[in-house]
């Protein structure tokens, strides 16, 4: 997949994973298994970029005697997710017009 396209899709996947409830690193990776298999090394820069863009916020809380960072989507993040969804639908529609149901 094209690098820039993949970056955009991964951003959407991560925002989708935290759209309903805040989540944490390993949970996000587990939730995305089967959709986009990513590792911690790939996830970290995505989370950092989304936070810098204001699409999510973070907080640290205690869990089993250690600290865990939780990620929560913001309003801007929800808007980004919605517009990303429309983009994907548009791509899907263009694909169907170009190639039909053929893979």
């Amino acid at each position: 997949m094209d690098v820039q396209l993949k970056k955009g899709v991964l951003d959407l996947c991560v925002l989708h994973a935290i759209r309903k409830n805040e989540s944490y690193g390993y949970r996000i990776i587990s939730d995305l298994q089967g959709i986009m298999d990513i590792s911690e090394s790939t996830l970290y820069p995505i989370l950092k970029r989304l936070e810098a863009s204001g699409y999510l916020t973070t907080r640290t809380a205690e869990h089993n005697g250690r600290l865990r960072r939780y990620y929560k989507i913001t309003r801007d993040g929800l808007k980004k997710l919605e517009s990303g969804k429309k983009d994907l639908l548009e791509i899907h529609s263009i694909y169907k017009k170009l190639f039909g149901d053929r893979l």
Binding site: V3, Y24, G25, E40, S41, T42, Y44, R66
Partner: protein, 204 residues
């Protein structure tokens, strides 16, 4: 490789990153490691999942999505900007080569010093045993002397034997701690040099 070794190698590959960011990255991986351990993964499986520390560091430094893909400069980029980037890369390569040479120069005297320390630590280990054995020898020869000849000399030999054995026994924990300290120092020195060499080797 253990997780701690993996983490230390990641840290050494993130030296160019501000300390606050380094702490954040290390905390991120510590959390990821702990979560996976809770989920039942073994240390080895987790490290395999994390990938090579160098590659993890590169993703953080360059926000790469795929390890094998290097983002090319965009076609619209002005020539001056790509020339500047090339100059920076060449400068970094020169300083890296310089650091490697320094690292090798440090290693050359370090090896015989380390060898001398290792031999000294072996000798130290032998000392308490030698004292105990020597003391026992003195003790028994004193006993024999007492029965054969009697007198103060025999008693002195017995006393000296007991004293040597006592000192030897006391020396055991002292020597153990000293040898452990020596080995730690040798290990730390080599680790520091190897981090310098390996950390810069990747960016050449």
């Amino acid at each position: 490789m253990t997780y701690n070794e993996w983490r230390d190698e990641l840290k050494s590959n993130l030296m160019s990153v501000p300390e606050s960011e380094q702490r954040r990255v290390l905390a991120y991986y510590a959390e990821a490691y702990a979560d996976r351990r809770e989920a039942g993964y073994s240390e080895r499986a987790i490290i395999a999942e994390f990938g090579a520390p160098y590659d993890a560091a590169q993703k953080i430094l360059h926000e790469k999505v795929d390890e094998d893909i290097h983002l090319p400069p965009s076609p619209a980029e002005p020539e001056e900007r790509s020339e500047k980037r090339e100059k920076k890369v060449k400068k970094r390569r020169r300083s890296n080569i310089f650091l490697i040479i320094i690292g090798i120069l440090i290693l050359i005297p370090l090896c015989p010093i380390a060898l001398a320390l290792i031999i000294a630590s072996v000798a130290l280990c032998v000392a308490p045993f030698a004292m105990c054995l020597g003391g026992a020898g003195y003790f028994f020869s004193g006993i024999w002397f007492l029965f054969e000849h009697g007198g103060a000399h025999a008693c002195m030999t017995i006393g000296a034997g007991i004293a040597f054995v006592g000192v030897g026994v006391i020396l055991f924990p002292v020597v153990f701690k000293l040898v452990k300290l020596l080995w730690n120092l040798i290990g730390m020195a080599f680790t520091a040099v190897s981090y310098t060499l390996r950390g810069k080797e990747h960016t050449v």
